[in-house]
């Protein structure tokens, strides 16, 4: 599973570092095949139809990602 947590300024401000921290703490060493990237602004935060923070999982974009939502996305994937 390829996960990209946007850590551009806007996503960081709206909670990106919580997602990153959660990932480091719970997902990195649990044996599942996760590949993490932390790109800078993915250019969604300026668009009216998306809200930070943004996470991309296997090419699919999720917005307004809270830690709870992030957990669900990772479980389902």
């Amino acid at each position: 599973m390829k996960i990209r947590i946007c850590l551009g300024t806007c996503c960081h401000l709206m909670g990106g570092s919580d997602l990153y921290s959660y990932f480091e703490e719970h997902c990195e060493k649990n044996g599942r095949d996760f590949e993490l990237e932390t790109p800078s602004c993915l250019d969604y935060c300026n668009r009216a139809d998306y809200e930070a923070p943004i996470v991309e999982v296997d090419g699919e974009i999720y917005d307004r990602v809270t830690v709870e939502k992030f957990k669900k996305i990772l479980e389902q994937g």
């Binding site: 850590l7 551009g8 300024t9 806007c10 960081h12 401000l13 709206m14 909670g15 570092s17 919580d18 990153y20 921290s21 959660y22 480091e24 703490e25 932390t38 800078s40 602004c41 809270t66 830690v67």
Partner: protein
């Protein structure tokens, strides 16, 4: 460790929009549009309708401007902005309750819910030591006036039908500084409030608000004034998990700061002075650099007042060193520094949240900035101040014989501390007091998750040591 909530997200969105328009010079014309951006027509309203939500956002904006929203209720935005711009201020308290946003949450502590089955045994009533539970219309009823809040009914109900409800703001406050007026609206008791900021995030309606220097700072920046940024030690990794101080220095200069100083250089002076004070003192010493901790002792446990160190905090040391042609802007993780700044020679205080909103408004990604050496570099012992236990480590480093002094720390003020502190003071020579869990990196206005900041800070200190 608490994660960010919707309350902080809304606050940060408002700050970002305000700074963007202030930087662009269009705030006067566009300030009225902000509340609509926050609550667009299509949005699911938090309250009865989006118009009510917008009203509350407008009130929040006025508080950020340090203007009394009630006084400005029927004043046009242009006039309101002009008053702000001309330097008018209503001197609001640093933290206040926005009454219109307060839910007036129920105060009574125990409730019988619909899950009550009207059972034959009714152990709730049977076990109530004051006999204040009666059965009415097929449901247990608690006489709230007589209830002594012992909780026995909760424990004994076989259906878990009785619940305990507390006001979240009161729960969050470690010093009992939140009271309720006749309308059930929360009030801050400023004789007890220590400005720790827990109620800010503790209130799920976002009814506690803080005033801000952010727009004034942006104004000074855009007018080309000479501003010096003082970076509190907990700033490492606050604006990007992939960058530290040299990249941030570039970003700050890009938005117009003239100089960037690492407060850690002044913190080392504080640590050394505090070490000398400890060596010369017969009694016990309580650290003095966290203002909320100092207010806690002064207001809640004044018996220990004499024990507070006389050494000035790093921010005060920096204020004393101020040059005549510069304006000092302290950038830090907490609200209480806004109060301390009024007692020191500091011109403005920005929180990390406010600066991050400014950077977001300017579209500056700190991790993509080049590295610039700050105009004043810090001492690694000063950087230690950022985390719980670090101040002690720095002071010990300056002691001739550290083994002769017993030390302990308060890592986050909680409601039980009042009882514990006496024993703590008895047992040791020096106590490091931090109002927030984890120390400054866990402050109420930090942006980065403290778990990450802790790691990045350790790496950073290792590098400069």
């Amino acid at each position: 460790m608490a994660y960010i909530t919707e309350i902080e997200i809304i606050k940060r969105k408002i700050l970002t929009l305000l700074s963007k328009k202030m930087f662009e010079g269009t705030l006067r014309e566009e300030i009225r549009d902000i509340s609509e951006k926050i609550s667009p027509d299509r949005a699911q309203p938090f309250r009865c309708c989006v118009y009510h939500d917008r009203e509350i956002t407008n009130d929040r904006i006025k508080i950020v401007l340090n203007l009394d929203h009630k006084k400005y209720k029927n004043v046009s935005w242009a006039e309101t902005y002009d008053d702000f711009f001309e330097g008018q201020t209503d001197n609001l308290p640093i933290l206040s309750v926005l009454e219109e946003a307060c839910n007036g949450c129920p105060q009574q502590r125990y409730y019988v819910t619909e899950a009550c089955q009207h059972c034959l045994a009714h152990p709730c009533a049977l076990n109530c030591p004051k006999d204040v539970i009666t059965i009415e219309n097929g449901r247990a009823k608690i006489d709230q006036d007589e209830c002594i809040e012992c909780g026995l009914c909760v424990k004994n109900c076989p259906f878990n039908a009785i619940i305990q409800v507390n006001r979240p703001c009161e729960n969050a406050c470690p010093v009992d500084a939140i009271q309720t007026d006749e309308q059930g609206i929360a009030r801050i008791d400023y004789d007890r409030c220590i400005l720790c900021g827990r109620c800010l995030t503790g209130c799920p309606f976002g009814a506690v608000v803080e005033r801000s220097d952010m727009l004034k700072v942006i104004r000074e920046l855009t007018e080309g004034k000479k501003l010096t940024a003082l970076l509190a030690p907990s700033i490492v990794a606050q604006f990007s998990v992939k960058a530290t101080v040299p990249e941030l220095t570039t970003a700050l200069k890009q938005i117009g700061f003239d100089k960037v100083y690492e407060l850690a250089s002044y913190a080392a002076i504080t640590a050394e002075q505090e070490a000398r004070e400890l060596e010369g003192k017969k009694g016990k010493l309580l650290s003095s650099c966290c203002p909320s901790w100092v207010y806690y002792i002064e207001k809640i446990l004044p018996d220990f007042r004499e024990n507070i160190s006389l050494t000035p905090s790093p921010m005060k040391v920096a204020g004393a060193d101020k040059k005549s042609d510069e304006l000092l802007v302290f950038i830090g993780p907490c609200i209480s520094k806004k109060q301390e700044a009024e007692e020191s020679n500091i011109d403005y205080v920005l929180t990390y949240e406010e600066l991050a909103s400014m950077l977001a408004a300017r579209d500056i990604d700190v991790s993509l900035c080049e590295e610039t050496v700050p105009d004043m570099a810090g001492d690694y012992r000063g950087w230690l101040f950022a985390k719980s236990g670090g101040l002690t480590e720095a002071v010990q480093n300056f002691l001739a014989a550290p083994e002769e002094f017993d030390v302990d720390k308060v890592d986050g003020i909680d409601s039980g501390l009042e009882r514990r502190l006496g024993k703590l003071v008895n047992d040791v020579d020096f106590i490091e007091g931090m109002a927030c869990e984890n120390g400054c990196i866990g402050g109420p206005c930090t942006v980065t998750n403290p778990r990450i900041t802790k790691k990045k800070l350790a790496d950073f200190i290792e590098k400069i040591r």
